[in-house]
Structure formats: structure tokens, C-alpha cells
């Protein structure tokens, strides 16, 4: 007798998704993951738009990662148009990128995952059971938001960042306020890391992931021109197409991607395993949990994100220090003379590798766009792990299975709005 367990909608993840587990008797036959978010055809929306409009439109792909989408798109446009930006702009963009990571990780850890740690259904449960902790963790999130708001002019879909430069730089008082807020939450990020350390699964191990990330250059852990894999292989970001191949997945509106015909895993855990540069406190935390994190399956991703919270707060403080010293004044954005060309760049989004690639005509009108999001890359591995976990758990009751599978999906921190936008390659 065959039966189906349907988990729909997936809760405490961004966007609309569904899992179906098909059983033959008690044996798990297949597990399907469908991301049925309505497609918004962003690549098609961009076609015919001037380069200047592209970042403002594309950041609306997803609110959790609007900042990194905007930055990635600026980089791709500037690559296509051959534009260099100033040191000031580079620093501000890096700072807001960290703000985006803090905001996104904090949201994931404290609003979506934390209820699991306290065995409650959601925020109201947390507010009941752990009101003080909740307030404390949310402070970390608001520090991330403060970076977005101060540097980007808004917490979601930041507005200041434009091709070739930026609007007004932050006034000194703004930077000092930011500094204060970040300094205040730095110890708290460490406590958050302590909080997530015990919550690692100790049952059956899932497949060891094939990690993939941007190869960091310089001190910034999230920026670089090359992609790197666990086996040490490195390829330039703009030839990403040689690495990734795409397959239309069965049921949802997203497409899945294989790397060299195998599922790849991107995100905080991948970055830590692929040796991104760490700051002192983050390095100490990583060192302490090296055993838990190295070659771990995706369920360690929550802890990895907690390590990155420390990292990003520390890095933000470094940059603010530099900005305070430099005392920049407002500058005009670089003059852009539109030209025909293509630009592809990669940035590490909170959830992992993000690629934007555009081609423009001589008037700077977008003629083609390709956006590959981390959730799309992770989808194949997610399906693989879901099947493995369901199989391990054969015989468990529906509730326990539902709970475990949902937690597994959550560990990937999927962003389904982003996932459904991917162009044929």
C-alpha cells in the first residue's frame, strides 16, 4: 500500500515550499521538494531596462538578501561597463554587505530556527518561554538592520547604492552610533554561538557535502573573482557556466543545478570549510568547534551561521574604524558611458554563492540576465538529504518525521523567492 505524507506549506522558511514523502508500506520510496513560489520572471523584467534601473529592480527578488543582490548586480554592471569605484564606495559596500549577513543570519537563527531549540511553534512561544533571551538575540538583528538603514538608507531594498558610486555617505554621528550598537552586540553574538553549539544532531550522519564558494581575496570573506571547491579546484567566476549545469526540477517552479553532475552545498558551512579569512573572535569560535563543523553535514549550518555572526560584526567594526579615520566627504559617482558588453560576478550571499550575469547593448540597455541563487544550487543536495533522512527514520510517526524534515530544510536556510528566478544558460 502506498501513501503520501505532505508537508505544505513549509513553515518558518522564506517563500512557499512543500515536501511530499511517498511510502510503499513503511518504506520510503521518494521524497520530493517543491518550491511553488510564483515565478516573477525577473530576468524577463530586466530585459529592455537601462543599466541604471537594474539594481533597483533586481534587489526586489528577495527581501532577506536584497542587499547582496544589489551589490552583486552593481559589480556585474560595473564589470560590463568597465567602471572602477572609489575606495570609499568599496568600503561602504562591504560594510552594508556585512549588515545584510547579520540581518539575514539573525533572522534565520532567532526568528525561524530558535523556536526549534525551545520546542515552541513560533515567536509567541519564544516570547513566553524565553522573553529575555529573545530580546537579547533580536538586538543582534537590529544591529544588522541599523547598518542597512544607516548605510543603505533603508533596512530592506537599500537605496543608496548605485552604479559607479553611492548617494550620501554616512555622517560621523551615524558611524559612531553604528559602532556603539555593534560593540554592544559583539558579546551577544558569542553567546548566540554558544546557544547553537549544543543543538547539533548526533544521530545518523548525512552525506558529506561538496562545498562550493567564492574564493575570498583580501580581507573580505565574501568577495572574490574566483569560485572554489572542496577539492581545491578554482575557476574564474565569469566562467561559472562551465561548472554549473542546470536541470528543471520535477514539480516546483525552480530549476536545480548540479556542479559537475553532483549536488553542491553553499552557505556559511561551505565558506568555513573552504577557509574563508576569519577575525580573531570568530577564528577562536571556529577553532573551538572545528570538530563539529569540519566536513559536517548541513545540519551544522546553523552553528556555522552563528560563527559568521561574530565574524561579520567584527569585520563591520573594522570597516567603521577605517571610515571614521578616513573622514570621507561626499563624492560624485563615477561617470558611466554605456557600452556593449557582458559582466558576470559572484558574491557570497548569506545563504551562499550568488551569481549575476548581464549583457548590455551599446545604449546600456539590458539584453540578457542570468541570476543563480544559492538556494537553487542547494536544492539538489536538499533533495538528497531529505531522502536520506526520511529513509533513516523509517517507522517514525508522521509528526516526528515532519518535524525532522522541516528542520533539515531550515538548516539550508532556503530562500524560495530567490530560487525561482533562474535563466536558461
Amino acid at each position: 500500500m502506498s501513501s503520501v505524507l505532505e508537508i505544505s506549506p513549509l513553515t518558518r522558511v522564506e517563500g512557499h515550499g512543500r515536501i511530499e514523502v511517498h511510502f510503499a508500506g513503511t518504506k520510503v520510496e521518494t521524497v520530493s521538494l517543491s518550491l511553488y513560489e510564483s515565478p516573477r520572471f525577473f530576468e524577463a523584467l530586466l530585459k529592455g531596462k537601462s543599466y541604471a534601473e537594474v539594481p533597483e529592480i533586481i534587489c526586489r527578488v528577495c527581501s532577506l538578501c536584497s542587499t547582496v543582490h544589489r551589490i552583486c548586480s552593481l559589480h556585474a554592471i560595473e564589470r560590463a561597463m568597465d567602471i572602477q569605484v572609489s575606495e570609499q564606495v568599496r568600503l561602504y559596500r562591504e560594510l552594508i554587505l556585512y549588515g545584510g549577513h547579520i540581518q539575514s543570519h539573525a533572522l534565520h537563527l532567532f526568528c525561524l530556527v530558535l523556536p526549534d531549540c525551545f520546542n515552541v511553534a513560533g515567536l509567541a512561544g519564544l516570547a513566553d518561554k524565553a522573553p529575555q533571551e529573545l530580546q537579547r538575540w533580536l538586538r543582534i538583528k537590529s544591529a544588522g538592520n541599523l547598518i542597512q538603514e544607516t548605510v543603505g538608507g533603508r533596512t530592506i531594498h537599500p537605496v543608496t547604492l548605485i552604479p559607479g558610486g553611492m548617494g550620501k555617505p554616512v555622517a560621523r554621528e551615524g558611524l559612531l552610533k553604528l559602532k556603539e550598537a555593534l560593540q554592544r552586540v559583539l558579546p551577544e553574538t558569542h553567546q548566540a554561538y554558544e546557544l547553537f553549539r549544543p543543538f547539533l544532531p548526533n544521530g545518523d550522519k548525512l552525506a558529506t557535502p561538496r562545498y562550493l564558494s567564492v574564493r575570498p581575496e583580501g580581507a573580505s570573506p565574501f568577495l572574490g573573482d574566483n569560485l572554489t571547491m572542496g577539492n581545491g579546484e578554482t575557476i574564474p567566476a565569469d566562467s561559472y557556466m562551465n561548472l554549473l549545469c542546470e536541470r528543471m526540477s520535477g514539480t516546483g517552479n525552480a530549476k536545480t543545478i548540479l556542479v559537475k553532475n553532483q549536488p553542491a552545498t553553499v552557505g556559511a558551512l561551505a565558506r568555513l570549510n573552504l577557509g574563508m579569512p576569519l577575525t580573531p573572535m570568530a577564528a577562536a569560535a571556529f577553532e573551538e568547534s572545528r570538530m563539529l563543523l569540519t566536513d559536517a553535514d548541513i545540519r551544522a549550518n546553523n552553528l556555522a551561521q552563528a560563527v559568521e555572526l561574530i565574524l561579520t560584526v567584527e569585520r563591520s567594526l573594522d570597516i567603521i574604524e577605517i571610515l571614521l579615520k578616513a573622514d570621507f566627504t561626499r563624492e560624485e559617482p563615477a561617470r558611466i558611458v554605456p557600452k556593449k558588453g557582458r559582466g558576470s560576478t559572484a558574491v557570497e550571499a548569506p545563504r551562499g554563492l550568488l551569481i549575476h550575469s548581464y549583457s548590455f547593448d551599446g545604449r546600456g540597455i539590458c539584453r540578457g540576465a542570468d541570476i543563480i541563487t544559492p538556494t537553487v544550487i542547494n536544492q539538489a543536495a536538499m533533495e538528497r538529504d531529505l531522502l536520506a533522512l526520511a529513509t533513516h527514520m523509517e517507522g517514525a510517526d508522521d509528526e516526528a518525521l515532519t518535524d525532522a524534515l522541516e528542520r533539515l530544510v531550515r538548516a539550508y536556510d532556503p530562500c524560495i523567492s530567490c530560487a525561482v528566478h533562474v535563466l536558461k544558460i
Partner: protein, 251 residues
Amino acid sequence: MKKPIIAIAGLTACSGCQLTLLNCEEELPEIAQRFIIDYFPLGLTERLITGPIDVAIVEGAVSTPSDLEILMKLRNSSHSLVALGTCALWGGIAAMKNQESRKDLAETVYGSAADGLKTFNPQPLHRFVKIDFAITGCPPETGELLATLAALLRGTFPVFPHYPVCSECRSRENLCLLIERNEMCLGPLIQAGCNARCPAVGIGCEGCRGPVTEANVAAETELLLKKGFPMDEIVSRMQRFYPEWDYEQRS
């Protein structure tokens, strides 16, 4: 005081409006206390819309049969329905090319696989159901969202002013990008409430909050044309969040 029962759901959107709620870090614990949150997939493990719900707060446009189903369910089980954000109220970013064929758009992205997609032009909620109140913005402002929640506690909705972004922009003493820098700022046409965020950091208003009650679209268009912007650029920019401008409208 009786706790209002609320539902929060997202349709075709980026989740930014729901995130706006989660971005009220300071107020979240209080909100969790004062309301009964009955359905909120982004923040709560509860898969069924059971009702009765006092107020359903809905983000996003309607573009799939499943969107419509959720919307209908919420409408039928709720006393009031609030459209949260520009997509829900105006169609938003996904609707910007509603005048083009949906099929062609799909094919641009999905090629031949597009046939299997069940989707139609993203539409604002009011095309399908009655909405009782709306909070505009892409994303909405936390202040307006909180004022709305506070009003819900009192069984009512707040009254927001109806004036354009320029008003807030001038009172903030920003440089006028339209006059002083000849930039394509949509401030005169767009509903205020954001405290002119964008011009305040030196970036023209892109119109994310949709049209103000009284918009002299024709005069702004003439002004932009006079400044040398080509019509297609003006149209492209204006339709970013709301596809249905009447370019002849003067009031």
C-alpha cells in the same frame, strides 16, 4: 482587552513586507503578547487557516491559482483584510510588464518548460476580494505597520495623510533632485509616509509607494520630457511599481 486574532500571509512577493514586521525587533515581544497570531507560515509552524480571524494581513500580488486559493480562504475566514505593501495594493514590481504577454515573459526565463507553469499576470488583491485597509510601500514602513497594529488593538485602522513624497522631502530640507540636479525624481506623484528616504540620501524617488491620491501625472510627465528624458524611459521608470498610470491624468 480582547486579543485580536491575526493571520499574516504572503503571495507573489519577496517576503519584504512580512520581514518588515520581523524587523520591528523592539516591538515583536509586545506584538506576540497582544495579538493571537493564528497563521503566519514565515514565523509559525501552523499549516491550516482555520479562522475565525479578526484581521488577515496579506503581502504580495496574486499570480497563481494557489495565491488565489490562499487569498480566498483568508478573506472568507477573516473579518477584515489588510493589503500589506505595494505588490498587494498596486501589483508591484512583478506587475511592471503586465502589458506584455505573460507567456513570452515565461519563455524568456524558462524556455520550453514555461508551458507547465500555472501563472497569470500579477494583480493587486482588490481585483479579487474586498480589502478593508492598505499599507503601501516596497517595503512598507515599520512605523505605519506598527500604527496599524496599534489601531487594530482598538478595533480600527489608522488615518494616514495623503500627500506626496515632496512634502516630506522639503520639510527635511533635502536638495531637490528634480529642480537642482534635473534627475528623474517621482516624488511629486508618489504617496508619502517614507519621510522621503531616497532623496534624503541623494537618490531620486523611484516611486515604490505608488500613486498619491491626487497626482498630476500629465504635468510631471511634461516636466520630465522638458528636462530631456525620453518618454520610454519615463514610462519604464514610472511603471516599476504600478503599471496602470494614466499619463493624461491631472488630478
